[in-house]
Amino acid sequence: MTMVQFDRVGKRYPGGKEALSGINFELARGEFAFLTGHSGAGKSTLLKLMMLMERPSRGQVFVDGQNLGRLRAGQIPYLRRKVGVVFQNHQLLFDRSVFDNVALPLQIAGYTPAEAGRRVRAALDSVGLLGMEKRNPIELSGGEQQRVGIARAVVNKPALLLADEPTGNLDPELSAEIMNLFLRFQQVGVTVLIASHDIALIERMGHRRLILDHGHLHEGQIAGAGGIYG
């Protein structure tokens, strides 16, 4: 079963900049893959197409069997509930507690408070932050904030988990910890795609790699040290 399919996808931004062209790839259900490339290669754009934060200029994107080009604006929220996203700047809200941040997707999806509470605690437990639910995210360290972001991304049990430079601001040790967290979600059936330029870490983990280079996608090995990603 395919979870994600890109079919000759191109994206041109107003002003003529070609962000992506001729993108073809598939992600199987439960697969774990990295998306790498120099900054400006189109990693974020590619992720945004799967969330319909952007729409492709050409080609078709399928997520969970759904042709995103056929989705009306009113259906976009329901797509996003199936896709969890983690950002480098984690997009947490500092006017509410860790618990309320993680509970937001459940509240939106219409869970009862009791049910939401159970799931939030389970999600916080899975990222090792169970004791911090009453804290404000601003009191937490960068790594902890990122884990709150991950808990929020997985609390609704999404089929697909996307991460855009989730370890961008973290030291190597914390980065490895975060990556291991993503691996555990893959182990329970979630399809995971992580955009990152942390080549050393990616090489160590040894999973499938999608490489973006000036808007074109290559599958497989990264060029050696000193290459374009050096």
């Binding site: 509240q107 219409g110 009862t112 389970a122 437990d125 049990k157 999404p158 059936g189």
Partner: protein
Amino acid sequence: MAEPKNSVKTQAGASLQEIGMRKRLNAWAANHQLVAVETLMRLLSKPLGSLLTWMVIAIALTLPGALWMALDNMEQLSGRFQASGRITLYLTPKATEQQGQQLSDRIAALDSVANTEFIDADTALDDFRDNSGLQAALDFLPENPLPAVILVEPPLGIEQAALLRLIEQLKSYQLVDSVQLDMAWVERLQAMLALAERLIGVLGVLLALAILLVVGNTIRLAIAARVDEIRVVKLVGGTNAYVRRPFLYTGLWYGMVGGLLAWLLLILCWALLNGPVADLAELYGSGFELKPLSAGAAMVLLLAAMLLGWLGAWWSVSRHLDHIEP
């Protein structure tokens, strides 16, 4: 780190389907309740900033409300005058007191007349002397210039046509010099009240527009202050309705509290004016009392305020919210 196995082990994608329709409906209602309480608390947590908006709304509502109240009272007053619209018959100078009295009795016996009163010329002069303050001047007159008068009171609620027929009949009596219907000024008053009503309508529409703009602008600022939150909510699957909801409730609260304040202001106006108006009415020998805004009218005021607040919020939200995309 804690054991993750018991947390995310369900099959991917099996989330929404697990929730039954009834549960979702309950959750939807619970969300409305939560948002309603949260938005009110948010407003109350910054009472000074909110008070400013509330007062603007309240004053914008009090103005037409007060005029409405005044108009209501004027109509009540004019209604009373209309009920007592009398016909005055001035008799020719040659009519004797006895003839006048007989005519008065004859007229009183008519079907379309409730009551009559005959005032002979001498009594009329005495009344005039007592009430006009022209006593000295009147004493210089060689003879009584005033005619005898018959006051004719038609029955309450007489129809216009019947009244006109009665007047024609009264004019036909030989002893009657002229007939005056004390209705002309009542009609003028009513024309003026109709004009005032129209003016209040126009003023009301303008002030309603002002409320829409004030609430709309306040909501615009609230949206600007919560852009980050809106982005995140949309990102994790919040529908437009979900994003709109807190702002619509905020508008509703602005309208409702503004309406309640307007009501209080109107009661205050009434309390301040009631005493002087009663004193004035007593000087005219009238039992007229200033009526406060009726419960029904107050309800209309409150509902209109809530509707305006909601509409103002809707207008602002529909203009600004769609542009905020993650």
